[in-house]
Subunit: 189 residues, 2 copies
DNA sequence: CCTACCGATCGGTAGG
DNA sequence: CCTACCGATCGGTAGG
């Protein structure tokens, strides 16, 4: 057993937080998963809360990066919307643990970190709204679209993907993106 | 302070489980909320897990009842779909704590209760699929609709409502139901 | 990264 | 529903 890196610790913490929740995971649980004692974790980190903050901020960063990439990848509103959907699905499925912790464990964060998470989510939601508003302005999406509600509905579908999607299931990732896009585009067109 | 009923205990437990999670709620927290000591709770219940099981099963029952009511309220597929959406929104907003616990704390249940919850969710999802499949059969919904995926997308939107909806917000409950129905009906028509 | 440990808190019980 | 507890486990520290 080679020595564990700080990154190993944070990644494994993310998995356990996603599976059992922050309060359902003890430092001894985490140590056991890594092949060491709970007390040994404190040579890598200062405290349990620090682990949660780092996992959640990794989740937030994945979304931030994906949004920037999607928004520069295309200019036409429908293509942009598809890029956002594809990026979101990729983030959710490539980083399930960090994303699930980011989406579900914010209540366990200390006030300062929780405020940052909420800000990050708001910013991301704004970029989805911007794509929709842009499409309404250019006449690609319907003029009476409620942009705020539509953004919430789209994000609800996307954020739930990790709750049911299986890579070995009937639908592959591209098929999933197609299905979400198809469903959503009818709602906004 | 009048004596607390078992129902008071279960309802307050539901609120705390929804707000802080099962593992984030101690029996002393729950006692404090009810104006008594943690140890006094054991005259009402046998254990902490029993509280979780009961909260979750109340959540499941609300959905079950709503599904039955919606399916008998209308026969035409679009009206049925609207009734399902309206019923679901009402359950989510009228029983936020039980619903949030039902949706988010299944992992904290013992194996037997968790299996029952999963069965209840599957049955409910089946009734949503049945409405969609019925609409496809009668030609009201599009023939190439992926009923399984559509049901998941619709439920994703509905189950997320309690995460963002405020009764004092811009949209009232009927407006919310209209918006969800409008969004969804375009996706299936 | 382990040994050896700390005070605090956990779910829960006996007896009234 | 409280008093008075129980053993187990919690996050975390000192010292090596």
């Amino acid at each position: 057993m080679s020595p564990r890196s700080r990154d190993d610790v944070v990644r494994t913490a993310g998995r356990l937080f996603a599976e059992r929740g922050y309060h359902g995971t003890s430092m001894r649980d985490l140590g056991r998963e890594l092949g060491l004692l709970g007390s040994s974790l404190y040579s890598h980190i200062e405290g349990k809360q620090e682990l949660l903050v780092e996992v959640v901020e990794r989740g937030a960063a994945f979304f931030q990066d994906a949004a920037e990439a999607a928004l520069t990848a295309a200019a036409e509103p429908r293509l942009r919307l598809r890029a956002v959907i594809a990026g979101h699905v990729a983030v959710v499925l490539d980083h399930r643990h960090e994303v699930r912790t980011f989406l579900s464990e914010a209540a366990a964060l200390d006030a300062a970190a929780r405020a940052r998470v909420i800000t990050a989510r708001d910013r991301y939601e704004q970029s989805v709204r911007a794509v929709l508003a842009d499409g309404v302005r250019s006449g690609v999406f319907r003029a009476d679209l409620d942009v705020k509600l539509a953004a919430i509905f789209i994000l609800s579908v996307l954020n739930s993907v990790d709750r049911w999607y299986r890579d070995d299931g009937r639908v592959d990732r591209k098929g999933l993106v197609d299905a979400v896009f198809d469903f959503v585009i009818r709602g906004v067109s």
